[in-house]
């Protein structure tokens, strides 16, 4: 075994780490560890000068292993691996200690935090000793792309990709393209017609030779990996199609919240309590009227139905406020005499032109009444004959602190957005993770919002979180651009941390074969041993811990690596115990 020359680099992250961890002390301590040739601290390791520092040291002091203690590896592991590569060192001769997200940011006792940092770094040093050189593999990219979801996001992405002559498969569950946008009349804040907008887009998609559309269809399961996916598409008529493609865009969007569960709004009980979706339909048909066909005199628009409320969804659905303002405008122009009430919890008219839209709307004698999500929500009640209106809304008006009654003949519930029922199915098929709100999780919330942790799978539009049309469209184009760039390159590098079988040891018990979720392991009848297809393997390591002979090695997560990590973490904490006793 070649001698280990380890370089340890500890990041201040400005004050983020240095405030809670005594970086200089840790640096000194680490220098004492055997095999550690260099131990440095630096303001921002991830910065270019920071990386150059490492590269320089590797070259000058021919370091063979690098440990960086800074933020989460989920943040910068790749950054530093690249640096190692630059320096001509195998990128996997690197280990990271997370002393920011899991130390300096979460602890309040500087001494303790410093001790913890030492333990974490020691563990990393221990571990990196046993790291082995791995080479990341290149895989060819199938230029076709699968887009799940034929909403405005999916359509835009499809057009974008097909626009540069690449094949696109567009899967839509329903019988027509357009998604939620297809249900809209006008769009806020400039009151363009959504219908017209979509019509042109859909026409383009339908006529584009590079786009193959599957209506009433859904993805059964997706096999493979970036560049070489393979999927089973089944249509409502039970027609099965096999597709091959290199990348996936998930643009499944969201569905509107069903208010039937909220008895206080009496949806379903009162005929003239309708959802925003139903009202859009009404507007598309061009006539605002009650179920009995007469014209409503008092129209109440209730915001945040199912949104920003602990009992339903805590998040803000983002589109409802501006839509409600749009409604107010449309009602005002159709029924100049009508009394219009907006019952809102908070007016969130963010985004270009929307605050102005709110201001102009508020000057059209529209009553903005605030309710309190914490307190009782507004309650719709039957009215007396004497009230001269069909319904009354009981409301604790927040700004005045008065309990009041709001007359209403037509009540529009601004229903929020929520995950579709099949979100889990799609997540499993595509290997995406779902957050607490059942939205797909992006790779990085700020720096990489359309990529996901699964290579070759991108998310765009509302399925990642509620979004309005411009946001969805720009995400669609972003995702498309990402894919086009990989197609242009023709191949991509993928992780090397897979499993492999030591044929000298494997006894062919075949325990591992069913363990693998990607059926990457097969049994070689001739040799009587198991074999891992490293292209299919995604490196979860479950087979390794299921193998009774120790024949399966999980690269980069080997027993000995983890053992040494454990020793590092605990011995340090033991010496701490002794310190305490002393």
């Amino acid at each position: 075994m070649e001698d280990k020359r380890i370089g340890v680099y500890i990041c201040w992250c400005g004050t983020n780490i240095a405030l809670m961890v005594d970086v200089e002390k840790v640096t000194r301590e680490m220098a004492k560890i055997p095999d550690v040739v260099i131990s440095r601290d630096y303001k921002y390791m991830c910065s270019d000068p920071g990386q150059d520092l490492i590269i320089k040291d590797i070259k000058e002091n021919n370091l063979t292993r690098i440990v960086v203690a800074s933020c989460s590896p989920r943040m910068h592991e790749l950054t530093f691996r690249k640096a190692l590569k630059k320096a001509g060192l195998n990128p996997y001769y690197f280990e990271m200690a997370n002393i920011r997200e899991q130390d300096s940011w979460v602890h309040t006792d500087r001494h303790e935090a410093t001790k913890k940092a030492e333990a974490l770094i020691l563990a990393a040093i221990n571990r990196v000793r046993y790291h082995e050189a791995l080479d990341s593999r290149k895989v060819e990219i199938d230029p076709a792309t699968l887009i799940i979801g034929g909403g405005i996001t999916g359509i835009t992405a499809a057009l974008e990709i097909a626009g540069s002559g690449e094949k696109v498969y567009l899967i839509e569950q329903s019988d027509k393209l357009g998604g939620l946008a297809a249900g809209l009349d006008l769009t806020f804040p400039y009151l363009y017609s959504a219908v017209q907008m979509l019509r042109t887009l859909v026409r383009k998609v339908n006529t584009d030779p590079d786009i193959k559309i599957f209506l009433n269809s859904q993805v059964e399961e997706i096999k493979g990996y970036i560049g070489n996916f393979e999927a089973q598409i089944s249509s409502a008529e039970g027609k099965e199609t096999k597709l091959k493609f290199g990348n996936i865009i998930v643009a499944t969007g969201l569905k509107t919240f069903d208010p039937s569960g909220m008895e206080n709004y009496g949806y379903g009980k009162f005929p003239d309590v309708i959802t925003s979706t139903e009202f859009e339909k009404m507007l598309q048909d061009g006539l605002i009227q009650k179920k009995n066909g007469t014209e409503p005199e008092n129209i109440a628009i209730i915001h945040c139905v199912g949104s920003r409320n602990k009992n339903y969804h805590e998040y803000c659905s983002r589109i409802c406020c501006s839509t409600a303002l749009k409604f107010a405008n449309q009602v005002r122009s159709q029924l100049p005499k009508a009394n219009i009430f907006e019952l809102y919890a908070d007016m969130r008219a963010f985004g270009k032109g929307c605050e102005e839209f709110y201001a102009s709307t508020s000057r059209k004698n529209i009553k903005f009444l605030m309710f309190d999500q914490e307190n009782e929500l507004p309650r719709v009640m039957e009215s007396e004959k004497s009230d001269r209106c069909d319904m009354l809304i009981e409301l604790n008006e927040k700004l005045s602190g008065k309990a009041v009654l709001v007359p209403a003949d037509l009540i529009i519930l601004m229903v929020g957005l929520e995950a579709r029922q099949d979100v889990k199915h799609v997540a499993h098929a595509t290997g995406l993770s779902i957050c607490g709100n059942q939205f797909y999780i992006e790779k990085h919330p700020k720096l990489d919002p359309v990529a996901t942790t699964t290579y070759g799978v991108f998310i765009a539009g509302a399925c990642q979180a509620p979004k309005d049309i411009p946001e969805s469209v720009s995400q669609a184009k972003a995702a498309a651009a990402r894919i086009l760039s990989t197609i242009a390159r023709g191949s991509v590098e993928v992780e090397a941390t897979t499993s492999c079988v030591n044929e000298e040891i494997c006894c062919g018990c075949q325990t591992c074969i069913r363990i693998c979720p990607y059926s990457a392991i097969s049994f070689l009848e001739d040799k009587k041993v198991s074999f891992v297809n490293e292209i299919l393997c995604k490196g979860c390591g479950t087979c390794g811990s299921g193998c009774p002979t120790g024949a399966i090695k999980c690269k980069h997560f080997t027993d000995v690596q983890i053992f040494s990590e454990i020793e590092g973490l605990l011995n340090m904490s033991y010496s701490m115990e002794e310190i305490k006793e002393a």
Binding site: S362, K367, E397, L399, S400, K402, A403, L405, P407
Partner: protein, 383 residues
């Protein structure tokens, strides 16, 4: 019972100076309440009134004493980020509330239509003229009209007891209206507010605040930056009240044939009061002209009418005095009638129906507000 929102409430209130375009802009940041020197626990104006306006909660608004507690320093309007001009809303609300308290409905007419206002003024003036011609004597050539001291024998022209009868009729009339309106106010502010219940003793214990505020207007003092405004306002008010009492109750002593020496209280008080009135009037007129002060930026027609009438009354009053001591019977005769023709409409219109009524409503508002404070607050929401 919860009050129902009335989106049309604001309709027709523009006449009082309630500018929808302004208060509608308010988005309730609360700066006005924060800056107001009079805001205290339980009295959170002017945001409250704006909100009630926006929501059209009539009952709630009528139960408000706050407009009367505001002395229009205008800080709220200065700091308002939306130019919702709360101060002016409070001013306009005072006009509106005056009309609300007034059961005859005349106040609303006067505030909302010039025609009505002037018609009333001229009608009253006419009545005065007729009565004057009927019950007084023209100083014809024959007969002795000049006294030994060279002053006009005014009681020969307009005998004080006859005038006195007129005074009393008027005073009675005013008193009746004013008191009944105050009862109306009490009903709207205290009785119809189900959330409070006033223990009777409070009425007595708080009575002092009524009197005290009537004379000192110390609240007013708290909110003004330049003291001069408050002093002049107080001076004017006191001069007005003293003259009013003298004329209504001590006319015999005030309207004499003999000319007292300059230092005689009768004359002295007269002069001081006149100065008080004049300085006040001129100061206010000046303000309303150059709009330097926030509270004089916007002038309702009735504000002008009031000032003009008051000015004329004072002016004619003092010139009447001058003509008398300088022994000019005819001038005295005519001036006297003009003086009455200004005075009577001024009082009859302004005191019960218009601006002048605030001299009663303000202290009562403070009184009622204190009553409410001292009262046990019952749970706000009826559930």
């Amino acid at each position: 019972m919860k009050e129902r929102i009335d989106p049309r409430f604001y309709v027709g209130l523009e006449e009082f100076g309630i500018k929808t375009a302004e208060w509608n802009e308010c988005f309730h940041c609360g700066n006005c309440t924060a800056i107001c020197p009079l805001t205290e626990k339980g009295v959170l104006f002017p945001r409250k009134e704006i909100r009630l306006m926006q929501m059209g909660l009539k009952k709630e608004l009528h139960a408000c004493t706050e407009p009367w507690l505001c002395y229009y320093c205008g800080d709220c309007s200065k700091t308002c980020p939306r130019d919702a001009n709360p101060a002016e809303l409070m001013m306009s609300l005072r006009r509106y509330l005056t009309s609300v308290y007034d059961w005859t409905g005349l106040a609303r007419k006067i505030y909302t239509s010039k025609i009505w206002e002037y018609m009333l003024i001229f009608m009253l003036a006419a009545i005065v003229l007729v009565l004057y011609l009927k019950f007084t004597f023209y100083p014809a050539a024959e007969g002795q009209w000049i006294g030994a001291d060279g002053g006009v024998l005014i009681n020969k022209i307009a005998p004080w007891h006859r005038i006195h009868i007129g005074d009393w009729l008027m005073a009675g009339f005013l008193a009746f209206l004013l008191i009944s309106n105050i009862f109306n106010m009490w009903y709207k502010v205290i009785l119809s507010d189900k959330s409070v219940k006033i223990p009777f003793p409070a009425y007595i214990t708080q009575f002092f605040s009524l009197v005290w505020n009537f004379f000192t207007q110390q609240k007013f003092n708290k909110c003004d930056d330049s003291k001069i405004y408050w002093y002049l306002h107080l001076f004017l008010m006191l001069s007005y009240v003293s003259l009013f009492t003298i004329i209504v109750f001590f006319l015999k002593w005030f309207q004499t044939d003999i000319i007292h020496p300059f230092w005689h209280p009768q004359r002295l008080i007269g002069y001081i009061a006149t100065t008080g009135l004049f300085s006040g009037i001129f100061y206010f007129i000046f303000n309303r002209f150059n709009k330097s002060r926030q509270n004089s930026k916007y002038s309702h027609i009735t504000d002008w009418t009031f000032l003009v009438l008051l000015f004329l009354t004072t002016a004619t009053g003092i010139s009447l005095h001058i003509f008398r001591i300088s022994g000019m019977p005819v001038a005295t005769y005519y001036t006297y009638v003009i003086h009455l023709m200004c005075l009577v409409p001024m009082l009859t219109i302004e005191v019960p129906f218009s601006k002048w009524s605030h001299l009663a409503y303000r202290p009562f508002a403070v009184y009622f507000a204190n009553l409410k404070k001292s009262a046990i607050i019952l749970p706000k929401r009826d559930s």
